[in-house]
Protein backbone atom coordinates (compact mmCIF):
# COMPACT_ATOMS: atom_id res chain seq x y z
CA UNK A 1 0.00 0.00 0.00
CA UNK A 2 2.71 2.43 1.02
CA UNK A 3 4.66 1.43 -2.05
CA UNK A 4 1.79 2.31 -4.36
CA UNK A 5 1.39 5.59 -2.52
CA UNK A 6 5.08 6.32 -2.81
CA UNK A 7 5.02 5.41 -6.48
CA UNK A 8 2.14 7.83 -7.06
CA UNK A 9 3.91 10.55 -5.11
CA UNK A 10 6.98 10.00 -7.24
CA UNK A 11 4.90 10.34 -10.40
CA UNK A 12 3.25 13.56 -9.18
CA UNK A 13 6.58 14.87 -8.18
CA UNK A 14 7.99 14.11 -11.61
CA UNK A 15 5.00 15.68 -13.37
CA UNK A 16 5.34 18.87 -11.30
CA UNK A 17 9.07 18.96 -11.93
CA UNK A 18 8.57 18.65 -15.68
CA UNK A 19 5.83 21.28 -15.80
CA UNK A 20 7.98 23.62 -13.76
CA UNK A 21 10.93 23.21 -16.17
CA UNK A 22 8.75 23.77 -19.24
CA UNK A 23 6.95 26.71 -17.68
CA UNK A 24 10.29 28.31 -16.74
CA UNK A 25 11.63 27.88 -20.27
CA UNK A 26 8.47 29.23 -21.94
CA UNK A 27 8.35 32.27 -19.67
CA UNK A 28 11.67 33.48 -21.04
CA UNK A 29 10.47 33.84 -24.60
CA UNK A 30 7.88 35.60 -26.71
CA UNK A 31 8.90 33.69 -29.81
CA UNK A 32 6.24 31.39 -31.22
CA UNK A 33 8.72 28.95 -32.83
CA UNK A 34 10.69 28.69 -29.61
CA UNK A 35 7.56 27.93 -27.54
CA UNK A 36 6.55 25.19 -29.98
CA UNK A 37 10.06 23.75 -29.82
CA UNK A 38 10.01 23.66 -26.03
CA UNK A 39 6.64 21.86 -25.92
CA UNK A 40 7.58 19.34 -28.60
CA UNK A 41 10.99 18.73 -27.03
CA UNK A 42 9.36 18.11 -23.65
CA UNK A 43 7.07 15.52 -25.27
CA UNK A 44 9.83 13.72 -27.14
CA UNK A 45 13.02 14.09 -25.06
CA UNK A 46 14.16 10.86 -23.43
CA UNK A 47 14.62 12.70 -20.12
CA UNK A 48 11.04 14.01 -20.26
CA UNK A 49 7.96 12.28 -21.72
CA UNK A 50 10.06 10.26 -24.16
CA UNK A 51 7.53 9.82 -26.96
CA UNK A 52 8.91 9.24 -30.46
CA UNK A 53 7.49 12.02 -32.59
CA UNK A 54 5.33 15.00 -31.88
CA UNK A 55 3.77 17.69 -34.03
CA UNK A 56 1.67 20.81 -33.72
CA UNK A 57 -1.09 21.59 -36.17
CA UNK A 58 -2.91 24.90 -36.37
CA UNK A 59 -6.57 25.31 -37.14
CA UNK A 60 -7.55 28.02 -39.63
CA UNK A 61 -11.14 28.77 -38.69
CA UNK A 62 -11.93 30.89 -41.75
CA UNK A 63 -10.77 28.31 -44.28
CA UNK A 64 -11.79 25.42 -42.01
CA UNK A 65 -8.46 23.66 -42.53
CA UNK A 66 -5.80 22.19 -40.29
CA UNK A 67 -2.20 22.70 -41.35
CA UNK A 68 1.11 21.37 -40.06
CA UNK A 69 3.06 23.96 -38.10
CA UNK A 70 5.96 22.11 -36.52
CA UNK A 71 7.13 18.55 -35.97
CA UNK A 72 9.97 16.78 -34.18
CA UNK A 73 11.15 13.20 -34.52
CA UNK A 74 12.58 10.57 -36.82
CA UNK A 75 10.87 9.60 -40.07
CA UNK A 76 11.62 5.84 -39.99
CA UNK A 77 13.21 3.18 -37.85
CA UNK A 78 16.63 3.68 -39.37
CA UNK A 79 16.60 7.37 -38.61
CA UNK A 80 15.26 6.66 -35.14
CA UNK A 81 18.09 4.28 -34.30
CA UNK A 82 20.61 6.75 -35.62
CA UNK A 83 19.24 9.70 -33.63
CA UNK A 84 18.73 7.77 -30.41
CA UNK A 85 22.21 6.24 -30.57
CA UNK A 86 23.63 9.68 -31.06
CA UNK A 87 21.68 11.07 -28.12
CA UNK A 88 22.52 8.20 -25.77
CA UNK A 89 26.22 8.97 -26.16
CA UNK A 90 25.75 12.33 -24.64
CA UNK A 91 22.92 12.44 -22.13
CA UNK A 92 21.35 15.88 -21.94
CA UNK A 93 19.06 17.42 -19.31
CA UNK A 94 15.80 19.04 -20.41
CA UNK A 95 17.27 22.54 -20.03
CA UNK A 96 20.17 21.50 -22.22
CA UNK A 97 17.71 20.25 -24.82
CA UNK A 98 15.85 23.58 -24.71
CA UNK A 99 19.09 25.51 -25.20
CA UNK A 100 20.75 23.18 -27.67
CA UNK A 101 20.58 23.44 -31.41
CA UNK A 102 19.57 19.80 -31.54
CA UNK A 103 15.97 20.69 -32.26
CA UNK A 104 17.19 22.80 -35.19
CA UNK A 105 18.96 19.69 -36.54
CA UNK A 106 15.83 17.60 -36.10
CA UNK A 107 13.57 20.15 -37.76
CA UNK A 108 15.65 19.86 -40.93
CA UNK A 109 14.91 16.12 -41.08
CA UNK A 110 12.30 14.50 -43.25
CA UNK A 111 9.52 14.12 -40.65
CA UNK A 112 9.32 17.81 -39.69
CA UNK A 113 9.40 18.77 -43.37
CA UNK A 114 6.52 16.40 -44.14
CA UNK A 115 4.51 17.81 -41.22
CA UNK A 116 4.83 21.28 -42.70
CA UNK A 117 3.36 20.07 -45.99
CA UNK A 118 0.19 18.72 -44.41
CA UNK A 119 -3.07 20.52 -45.09
CA UNK A 120 -6.33 18.87 -44.04
CA UNK A 121 -9.74 20.09 -45.07
CA UNK A 122 -12.07 19.59 -42.10
CA UNK A 123 -15.15 19.54 -44.31
CA UNK A 124 -13.82 16.37 -45.92
CA UNK A 125 -13.55 14.53 -42.59
CA UNK A 126 -16.25 12.32 -41.17
CA UNK A 127 -17.77 13.20 -37.81
CA UNK A 128 -16.01 10.24 -36.20
CA UNK A 129 -12.62 11.44 -37.35
CA UNK A 130 -10.45 12.25 -34.31
CA UNK A 131 -9.09 15.45 -35.83
CA UNK A 132 -12.62 16.75 -36.19
CA UNK A 133 -13.63 15.47 -32.74
CA UNK A 134 -10.69 17.19 -31.03
CA UNK A 135 -11.77 20.50 -32.53
CA UNK A 136 -15.43 19.98 -31.65
CA UNK A 137 -15.17 18.31 -28.26
CA UNK A 138 -11.88 19.71 -26.97
CA UNK A 139 -10.88 16.37 -25.39
CA UNK A 140 -7.64 14.44 -25.44
CA UNK A 141 -7.82 11.17 -27.37
CA UNK A 142 -5.61 8.16 -26.92
CA UNK A 143 -5.75 5.90 -30.00
CA UNK A 144 -4.36 2.41 -29.65
CA UNK A 145 -6.85 0.05 -31.31
CA UNK A 146 -6.11 -0.76 -34.91
CA UNK A 147 -9.68 -0.01 -35.92
CA UNK A 148 -9.49 3.46 -34.48
CA UNK A 149 -6.64 4.37 -36.84
CA UNK A 150 -9.12 4.46 -39.69
CA UNK A 151 -10.66 7.46 -37.91
CA UNK A 152 -7.65 9.63 -38.68
CA UNK A 153 -7.05 11.79 -41.75
CA UNK A 154 -5.15 9.92 -44.50
CA UNK A 155 -2.17 12.27 -44.32
CA UNK A 156 -1.79 11.46 -40.61
CA UNK A 157 -2.30 7.73 -41.09
CA UNK A 158 0.50 7.67 -43.67
CA UNK A 159 2.95 9.41 -41.41
CA UNK A 160 2.06 8.08 -37.95
CA UNK A 161 2.24 4.33 -38.54
CA UNK A 162 2.59 3.41 -34.90
CA UNK A 163 0.90 1.48 -32.19
CA UNK A 164 -0.29 4.39 -30.06
CA UNK A 165 -1.16 8.00 -30.76
CA UNK A 166 -2.23 10.84 -28.47
CA UNK A 167 -4.14 13.82 -29.83
CA UNK A 168 -4.64 16.86 -27.61
CA UNK A 169 -6.37 20.20 -28.33
CA UNK A 170 -4.52 23.53 -28.10
CA UNK A 171 -6.69 26.10 -26.30
CA UNK A 172 -6.54 29.85 -26.28
CA UNK A 173 -8.72 31.72 -23.78
CA UNK A 174 -11.53 31.75 -26.36
CA UNK A 175 -11.29 28.70 -28.55
CA UNK A 176 -9.39 25.69 -29.83
CA UNK A 177 -6.78 26.88 -32.29
CA UNK A 178 -4.71 23.76 -32.87
CA UNK A 179 -3.82 20.18 -32.13
CA UNK A 180 -0.82 18.45 -30.61
CA UNK A 181 -0.22 14.94 -31.79
CA UNK A 182 2.40 12.46 -30.55
CA UNK A 183 3.15 8.76 -31.06
CA UNK A 184 5.34 5.95 -29.74
CA UNK A 185 6.72 4.83 -33.09
CA UNK A 186 9.80 2.63 -33.26
CA UNK A 187 10.23 2.03 -29.52
CA UNK A 188 6.53 1.24 -28.93
CA UNK A 189 6.61 2.02 -25.21
CA UNK A 190 3.02 2.24 -24.01
CA UNK A 191 1.65 5.73 -23.43
CA UNK A 192 0.74 5.94 -19.73
CA UNK A 193 -2.05 7.91 -18.03
CA UNK A 194 0.59 10.11 -16.47
CA UNK A 195 2.02 10.94 -19.92
CA UNK A 196 -1.46 11.76 -21.19
CA UNK A 197 -2.09 14.07 -18.23
CA UNK A 198 1.22 15.78 -18.85
CA UNK A 199 0.51 16.19 -22.57
CA UNK A 200 -2.83 17.70 -21.63
CA UNK A 201 -1.21 20.10 -19.14
CA UNK A 202 1.53 20.98 -21.62
CA UNK A 203 -1.12 21.72 -24.24
CA UNK A 204 -2.80 24.13 -21.85
CA UNK A 205 0.51 25.77 -21.03
CA UNK A 206 1.42 26.03 -24.70
CA UNK A 207 -2.00 27.51 -25.52
CA UNK A 208 -1.65 30.24 -22.90
CA UNK A 209 1.96 30.98 -23.89
CA UNK A 210 1.14 31.15 -27.61
CA UNK A 211 -1.82 33.43 -27.01
CA UNK A 212 0.22 35.72 -24.77
CA UNK A 213 2.96 35.75 -27.40
CA UNK A 214 0.48 36.64 -30.11
CA UNK A 215 -0.82 39.62 -28.13
CA UNK A 216 2.65 40.55 -27.04
CA UNK A 217 3.75 40.66 -30.67
CA UNK A 218 0.69 42.64 -31.70
CA UNK A 219 1.35 45.18 -28.95
CA UNK A 220 5.03 45.21 -29.87
CA UNK A 221 4.24 45.80 -33.52
CA UNK A 222 1.79 48.54 -32.64
CA UNK A 223 4.37 50.07 -30.35
CA UNK A 224 6.92 49.99 -33.18
CA UNK A 225 4.39 51.52 -35.56
CA UNK A 226 3.57 54.18 -33.01
CA UNK A 227 7.25 54.85 -32.50
CA UNK A 228 7.73 55.19 -36.25
CA UNK A 229 4.73 57.50 -36.42
CA UNK A 230 6.07 59.52 -33.54
CA UNK A 231 9.44 59.83 -35.30
CA UNK A 232 7.71 60.83 -38.53
CA UNK A 233 5.72 63.49 -36.66
CA UNK A 234 8.90 64.77 -35.03
CA UNK A 235 10.65 65.01 -38.39
CA UNK A 236 7.65 66.78 -39.84
CA UNK A 237 7.49 69.20 -36.92
CA UNK A 238 11.14 69.90 -37.38
CA UNK A 239 10.57 70.58 -41.06
CA UNK A 240 7.67 72.91 -40.29
CA UNK A 241 9.71 74.85 -37.76
CA UNK A 242 12.56 75.14 -40.28
CA UNK A 243 10.12 76.17 -43.00
CA UNK A 244 8.57 78.78 -40.71
CA UNK A 245 12.00 80.12 -39.90
CA UNK A 246 12.87 80.31 -43.59
CA UNK A 247 9.60 82.08 -44.33
CA UNK A 248 10.27 84.51 -41.48
CA UNK A 249 13.80 85.12 -42.75
CA UNK A 250 12.43 85.60 -46.27
CA UNK A 251 9.94 88.18 -45.10
CA UNK A 252 12.47 89.89 -42.93
CA UNK A 253 14.99 90.10 -45.76
CA UNK A 254 12.30 91.44 -48.06
CA UNK A 255 11.55 94.11 -45.47
CA UNK A 256 15.19 95.00 -45.02
CA UNK A 257 15.79 95.16 -48.75
CA UNK A 258 12.98 97.64 -49.14
CA UNK A 259 13.45 99.68 -46.01
CA UNK A 260 17.22 99.67 -45.72
CA UNK A 261 18.75 98.84 -49.06
CA UNK A 262 16.87 101.60 -50.83
CA UNK A 263 18.14 104.35 -48.51
CA UNK A 264 21.61 102.78 -48.70
CA UNK A 265 21.56 102.93 -52.48
CA UNK A 266 20.62 106.61 -52.26
CA UNK A 267 23.28 107.33 -49.65
CA UNK A 268 25.93 105.53 -51.67
CA UNK A 269 24.95 107.25 -54.89
CA UNK A 270 25.07 110.72 -53.35
CA UNK A 271 28.30 109.95 -51.51
CA UNK A 272 29.87 108.96 -54.82
CA UNK A 273 28.75 112.26 -56.33
CA UNK A 274 30.26 114.20 -53.44
CA UNK A 275 33.56 112.42 -53.99
CA UNK A 276 33.61 113.63 -57.60
CA UNK A 277 32.71 117.29 -57.12
CA UNK A 278 34.26 120.46 -55.67
CA UNK A 279 31.04 122.42 -55.90
CA UNK A 280 30.27 123.32 -52.28
CA UNK A 281 26.56 123.98 -52.76
CA UNK A 282 26.12 120.59 -54.47
CA UNK A 283 28.03 118.93 -51.65
CA UNK A 284 25.75 120.61 -49.07
CA UNK A 285 22.65 119.53 -50.94
CA UNK A 286 23.79 115.92 -51.36
CA UNK A 287 25.05 115.65 -47.76
CA UNK A 288 21.65 116.82 -46.57
CA UNK A 289 19.97 114.06 -48.56
CA UNK A 290 22.42 111.52 -47.13
CA UNK A 291 21.57 112.71 -43.62
CA UNK A 292 17.83 112.32 -44.25
CA UNK A 293 18.26 108.83 -45.62
CA UNK A 294 20.34 107.83 -42.60
CA UNK A 295 17.57 109.14 -40.33
CA UNK A 296 15.14 106.89 -42.21
CA UNK A 297 17.26 103.82 -41.49
CA UNK A 298 17.58 104.87 -37.87
CA UNK A 299 13.80 105.09 -37.52
CA UNK A 300 13.39 101.62 -39.01
CA UNK A 301 15.86 100.20 -36.54
CA UNK A 302 14.07 102.01 -33.71
CA UNK A 303 10.88 100.24 -34.69
CA UNK A 304 12.71 96.95 -34.43
CA UNK A 305 13.82 97.76 -30.92
CA UNK A 306 10.18 98.21 -29.99
CA UNK A 307 9.40 94.92 -31.70
CA UNK A 308 11.88 93.00 -29.63
CA UNK A 309 11.05 95.16 -26.61
CA UNK A 310 14.70 95.78 -25.95
CA UNK A 311 14.23 99.41 -25.01
CA UNK A 312 14.03 100.00 -21.26
CA UNK A 313 10.58 100.91 -20.01
CA UNK A 314 9.97 104.51 -19.10
CA UNK A 315 6.92 104.68 -16.85
CA UNK A 316 5.31 108.09 -16.76
CA UNK A 317 1.87 109.68 -16.67
CA UNK A 318 0.41 109.31 -20.15
CA UNK A 319 -2.68 111.21 -21.22
CA UNK A 320 -4.69 108.81 -23.36
CA UNK A 321 -6.56 111.48 -25.31
CA UNK A 322 -3.41 113.40 -26.22
CA UNK A 323 -1.65 110.22 -27.21
CA UNK A 324 -4.47 109.00 -29.48
CA UNK A 325 -4.67 112.42 -31.12
CA UNK A 326 -0.91 112.39 -31.77
CA UNK A 327 -1.20 108.99 -33.47
CA UNK A 328 -4.22 110.07 -35.53
CA UNK A 329 -2.24 113.09 -36.75
CA UNK A 330 0.31 110.74 -38.32
CA UNK A 331 -2.40 109.24 -40.50
CA UNK A 332 -4.28 112.46 -41.34
CA UNK A 333 -3.49 112.38 -45.06
CA UNK A 334 -4.68 108.78 -45.48
CA UNK A 335 -7.79 109.40 -43.35
CA UNK A 336 -8.82 112.31 -45.58
CA UNK A 337 -7.96 110.46 -48.79
CA UNK A 338 -10.00 107.40 -47.84
CA UNK A 339 -12.86 109.50 -46.48
CA UNK A 340 -12.76 107.86 -43.06
CA UNK A 341 -14.62 109.33 -40.06
CA UNK A 342 -12.63 108.91 -36.85
CA UNK A 343 -14.73 108.99 -33.68
CA UNK A 344 -12.75 109.89 -30.59
CA UNK A 345 -15.72 110.67 -28.33
CA UNK A 346 -15.05 107.61 -26.18
CA UNK A 347 -11.43 108.44 -25.55
CA UNK A 348 -11.30 109.68 -21.95
CA UNK A 349 -9.22 112.73 -21.14
CA UNK A 350 -7.35 110.97 -18.36
CA UNK A 351 -3.78 110.08 -17.52
CA UNK A 352 -2.51 106.64 -16.64
CA UNK A 353 0.86 105.38 -15.44
CA UNK A 354 2.41 103.59 -18.42
CA UNK A 355 5.25 103.44 -20.91
CA UNK A 356 4.30 105.95 -23.56
CA UNK A 357 6.07 104.13 -26.39
CA UNK A 358 4.28 100.89 -25.63
CA UNK A 359 0.83 102.46 -25.48
CA UNK A 360 1.42 104.50 -28.63
CA UNK A 361 2.67 101.36 -30.44
CA UNK A 362 -0.64 99.69 -29.57
CA UNK A 363 -2.68 102.59 -30.95
CA UNK A 364 -0.37 103.11 -33.92
CA UNK A 365 -0.64 99.53 -35.10
CA UNK A 366 -4.36 99.10 -34.47
CA UNK A 367 -5.27 102.42 -36.13
CA UNK A 368 -2.89 101.73 -39.01
CA UNK A 369 -4.58 98.35 -39.63
CA UNK A 370 -8.05 99.88 -39.45
CA UNK A 371 -7.17 102.62 -41.93
CA UNK A 372 -5.60 100.08 -44.26
CA UNK A 373 -8.81 98.05 -44.34
CA UNK A 374 -11.40 100.83 -44.39
CA UNK A 375 -12.69 103.12 -47.14
CA UNK A 376 -15.62 105.50 -46.65
CA UNK A 377 -16.19 104.08 -43.20
CA UNK A 378 -15.84 104.81 -39.51
CA UNK A 379 -13.13 104.09 -37.01
CA UNK A 380 -14.26 104.42 -33.41
CA UNK A 381 -11.63 104.47 -30.71
CA UNK A 382 -12.25 103.75 -27.03
CA UNK A 383 -9.81 104.41 -24.22
CA UNK A 384 -11.34 104.26 -20.77
CA UNK A 385 -10.51 103.30 -17.25
CA UNK A 386 -12.83 100.60 -15.99
CA UNK A 387 -11.22 99.64 -12.69
CA UNK A 388 -9.14 97.44 -12.48
CA UNK A 389 -8.47 97.72 -16.23
CA UNK A 390 -7.61 100.27 -18.86
CA UNK A 391 -9.82 99.30 -21.76
CA UNK A 392 -8.61 100.14 -25.22
CA UNK A 393 -10.66 99.36 -28.27
CA UNK A 394 -10.40 100.18 -31.96
CA UNK A 395 -13.47 99.39 -33.99
CA UNK A 396 -13.71 99.84 -37.75
CA UNK A 397 -16.35 99.27 -40.42
CA UNK A 398 -13.75 97.97 -42.86
CA UNK A 399 -13.48 94.78 -44.86
CA UNK A 400 -12.95 92.49 -41.86
CA UNK A 401 -10.80 89.40 -41.51
CA UNK A 402 -11.87 86.01 -42.92
CA UNK A 403 -12.69 83.61 -40.10
CA UNK A 404 -10.08 81.05 -41.17
CA UNK A 405 -7.28 83.63 -40.92
CA UNK A 406 -8.14 84.86 -37.40
CA UNK A 407 -5.96 82.30 -35.58
CA UNK A 408 -2.85 83.44 -37.46
CA UNK A 409 -3.07 87.22 -37.43
CA UNK A 410 -1.02 87.75 -34.28
CA UNK A 411 1.81 85.60 -35.58
CA UNK A 412 4.98 87.40 -36.64
CA UNK A 413 5.37 88.04 -40.37
CA UNK A 414 1.77 87.12 -41.05
CA UNK A 415 0.24 89.67 -43.37
CA UNK A 416 -2.72 89.83 -45.69
CA UNK A 417 -1.48 93.02 -47.32
CA UNK A 418 0.78 92.72 -50.36
CA UNK A 419 4.16 94.00 -49.18
CA UNK A 420 2.97 94.05 -45.56
CA UNK A 421 5.52 92.92 -43.02
CA UNK A 422 2.99 91.30 -40.71
CA UNK A 423 4.37 92.65 -37.49
CA UNK A 424 1.62 95.08 -36.37
CA UNK A 425 -0.61 92.75 -34.40
CA UNK A 426 2.38 90.70 -33.30
CA UNK A 427 3.87 93.82 -31.69
CA UNK A 428 0.51 94.65 -30.09
CA UNK A 429 0.00 91.13 -28.70
CA UNK A 430 3.57 91.08 -27.37
CA UNK A 431 3.12 94.37 -25.55
CA UNK A 432 -0.26 93.28 -24.15
CA UNK A 433 1.31 90.06 -22.94
CA UNK A 434 4.17 91.83 -21.15
CA UNK A 435 1.57 94.01 -19.43
CA UNK A 436 -0.35 90.89 -18.33
CA UNK A 437 -3.30 92.12 -20.34
CA UNK A 438 -5.77 90.45 -22.61
CA UNK A 439 -6.21 90.88 -26.37
CA UNK A 440 -9.47 90.09 -28.11
CA UNK A 441 -10.06 90.33 -31.86
CA UNK A 442 -13.60 90.16 -33.20
CA UNK A 443 -14.12 90.36 -36.90
CA UNK A 444 -16.69 89.71 -39.55
CA UNK A 445 -15.98 89.86 -43.25
CA UNK A 446 -17.35 92.95 -45.01
CA UNK A 447 -18.62 94.29 -41.66
CA UNK A 448 -15.50 95.25 -39.81
CA UNK A 449 -13.06 94.45 -37.07
CA UNK A 450 -12.97 95.27 -33.37
CA UNK A 451 -9.84 94.84 -31.31
CA UNK A 452 -10.34 95.00 -27.53
CA UNK A 453 -7.47 95.23 -25.10
CA UNK A 454 -7.70 95.04 -21.32
CA UNK A 455 -4.62 96.09 -19.39
CA UNK A 456 -4.63 95.74 -15.59
CA UNK A 457 -3.89 98.98 -13.74
CA UNK A 458 -0.88 98.51 -11.50
Amino acid sequence: MTEIFEEKLKTYNYELYLLHKVSKAIKKTFNEEKILSIILTAITADCALGLSRAAVFYYDKEKNVIYGKKGIGPFNEQEATQIWTELSKNKMTLEEYFQSSFEQYLSEQKFPQLIKNILINIDMLSNTNYFKRVLLEGNLFHIKNKDDFTNLPNEIKELFVSSEIVISPLFSSKEIFGIIIADNAFHYRPITDSTKTLISLLSIQAGIALETTKYHNIVKQQYEELKELHNAVEILQDKIVKQERLTAIGKLSSYFIHEIKNPLVTIGGFAQRISKTNNLSEIHKDANIIFKEIMKIEQILNRFTTLTLLSPLKIEMVNLKELVEEVIDLFQIEITRKKIVVDLSSVQNISVKADKIQISEIFFNLISNSIENTINGTIKIYAEIKDPFIEISVKDTGKGIPKELLPYITEPFYSTKPGGLGLGLFIVSNIVETLNGKLEILSEEKKGTTVNIYIPIK
Binding site: V265, G268, G269, F270, Q272, R273
Partner: protein, 120 residues
Amino acid sequence: MERKKILLVEDEENERILYKEELEREGFIVICCENGSHAIKLIEKDDFDLLVLDIKMPQMDGIETLGKILTKKRNIPIIIYTAYPQYKEQFLTWAADEYIIKSADLTNLKEKVKSVLNKK
Protein backbone atom coordinates in the same frame (compact mmCIF):
# COMPACT_ATOMS: atom_id res chain seq x y z
CA MET B 1 21.78 113.91 -82.44
CA GLU B 2 18.42 114.05 -80.74
CA ARG B 3 18.52 113.50 -76.96
CA LYS B 4 16.76 110.33 -75.85
CA LYS B 5 13.87 110.69 -73.45
CA ILE B 6 13.58 108.42 -70.43
CA LEU B 7 10.59 107.97 -68.11
CA LEU B 8 11.74 107.09 -64.58
CA VAL B 9 9.17 105.61 -62.18
CA GLU B 10 10.41 105.61 -58.57
CA ASP B 11 8.48 106.25 -55.35
CA GLU B 12 11.45 107.35 -53.24
CA GLU B 13 12.07 111.05 -53.75
CA ASN B 14 15.81 111.08 -53.08
CA GLU B 15 16.39 108.11 -55.34
CA ARG B 16 14.46 109.94 -58.07
CA ILE B 17 16.68 112.98 -57.68
CA LEU B 18 19.82 110.84 -57.81
CA TYR B 19 18.92 108.85 -60.91
CA LYS B 20 17.49 111.83 -62.74
CA GLU B 21 20.54 113.99 -62.20
CA GLU B 22 22.99 111.20 -62.97
CA LEU B 23 21.23 110.18 -66.19
CA GLU B 24 20.89 113.80 -67.24
CA ARG B 25 24.66 114.11 -66.86
CA GLU B 26 24.92 111.33 -69.43
CA GLY B 27 22.96 113.50 -71.84
CA PHE B 28 19.45 112.06 -71.52
CA ILE B 29 16.20 113.85 -70.89
CA VAL B 30 14.70 112.33 -67.75
CA ILE B 31 11.05 112.71 -66.81
CA CYS B 32 10.15 111.38 -63.35
CA CYS B 33 7.01 110.20 -61.67
CA GLU B 34 6.37 108.51 -58.35
CA ASN B 35 3.83 105.82 -59.11
CA GLY B 36 2.50 103.45 -61.75
CA SER B 37 -0.79 105.16 -62.54
CA HIS B 38 0.97 108.47 -63.14
CA ALA B 39 3.44 106.68 -65.42
CA ILE B 40 0.62 105.23 -67.51
CA LYS B 41 -0.91 108.67 -67.98
CA LEU B 42 2.44 110.11 -69.08
CA ILE B 43 3.03 107.27 -71.53
CA GLU B 44 -0.40 107.76 -73.08
CA LYS B 45 0.34 111.46 -73.67
CA ASP B 46 3.96 111.39 -74.70
CA ASP B 47 6.51 109.19 -76.46
CA PHE B 48 9.48 107.88 -74.50
CA ASP B 49 12.56 106.04 -75.69
CA LEU B 50 12.93 104.07 -72.46
CA LEU B 51 11.07 103.27 -69.27
CA VAL B 52 13.03 102.69 -66.02
CA LEU B 53 10.68 101.08 -63.53
CA ASP B 54 10.91 100.30 -59.80
CA ILE B 55 8.96 97.26 -58.50
CA LYS B 56 7.94 97.96 -54.92
CA MET B 57 5.76 101.05 -55.00
CA PRO B 58 2.63 101.91 -53.03
CA GLN B 59 -0.74 101.65 -54.76
CA MET B 60 0.16 100.31 -58.20
CA ASP B 61 3.40 98.35 -58.05
CA GLY B 62 5.86 97.72 -60.88
CA ILE B 63 4.33 94.39 -61.83
CA GLU B 64 0.89 95.83 -62.40
CA THR B 65 2.28 98.94 -64.07
CA LEU B 66 4.32 96.88 -66.51
CA GLY B 67 1.29 94.78 -67.41
CA LYS B 68 -0.79 97.87 -68.14
CA ILE B 69 1.95 99.61 -70.12
CA LEU B 70 2.53 96.55 -72.28
CA THR B 71 -1.12 96.53 -73.33
CA LYS B 72 -0.76 100.14 -74.47
CA LYS B 73 2.72 100.44 -75.93
CA ARG B 74 4.35 97.13 -76.65
CA ASN B 75 7.46 98.54 -78.25
CA ILE B 76 8.80 100.72 -75.48
CA PRO B 77 12.09 99.34 -74.06
CA ILE B 78 11.84 98.67 -70.34
CA ILE B 79 14.47 98.40 -67.63
CA ILE B 80 13.40 97.06 -64.26
CA TYR B 81 15.46 98.74 -61.57
CA THR B 82 14.86 97.18 -58.17
CA ALA B 83 16.37 96.24 -54.82
CA TYR B 84 14.86 92.73 -55.13
CA PRO B 85 16.75 90.05 -57.04
CA GLN B 86 14.00 87.43 -56.88
CA TYR B 87 11.76 88.62 -59.71
CA LYS B 88 14.41 88.51 -62.44
CA GLU B 89 13.20 85.44 -64.36
CA GLN B 90 9.62 86.54 -64.15
CA PHE B 91 10.34 89.98 -65.59
CA LEU B 92 12.60 88.88 -68.38
CA THR B 93 9.92 86.50 -69.64
CA TRP B 94 7.54 89.40 -69.23
CA ALA B 95 9.20 91.37 -71.97
CA ALA B 96 11.34 93.66 -69.85
CA ASP B 97 14.64 94.34 -71.67
CA GLU B 98 16.87 94.47 -68.62
CA TYR B 99 16.61 93.66 -64.96
CA ILE B 100 19.06 95.57 -62.79
CA ILE B 101 19.57 95.18 -59.06
CA LYS B 102 19.88 98.58 -57.41
CA SER B 103 23.35 99.55 -56.27
CA ALA B 104 24.99 102.68 -54.90
CA ASP B 105 27.35 102.37 -57.85
CA LEU B 106 25.29 103.70 -60.75
CA THR B 107 27.74 102.61 -63.48
CA ASN B 108 25.72 99.53 -64.29
CA LEU B 109 22.49 101.49 -64.60
CA LYS B 110 24.09 104.01 -66.92
CA GLU B 111 25.68 101.34 -69.11
CA LYS B 112 22.49 99.30 -69.41
CA VAL B 113 20.47 102.42 -70.25
CA LYS B 114 22.92 103.22 -73.05
CA SER B 115 23.02 99.70 -74.42
CA VAL B 116 19.24 99.30 -74.45
CA LEU B 117 18.84 102.65 -76.21
CA ASN B 118 21.53 101.77 -78.76
CA LYS B 119 19.73 98.56 -79.64
CA LYS B 120 16.57 100.48 -80.36
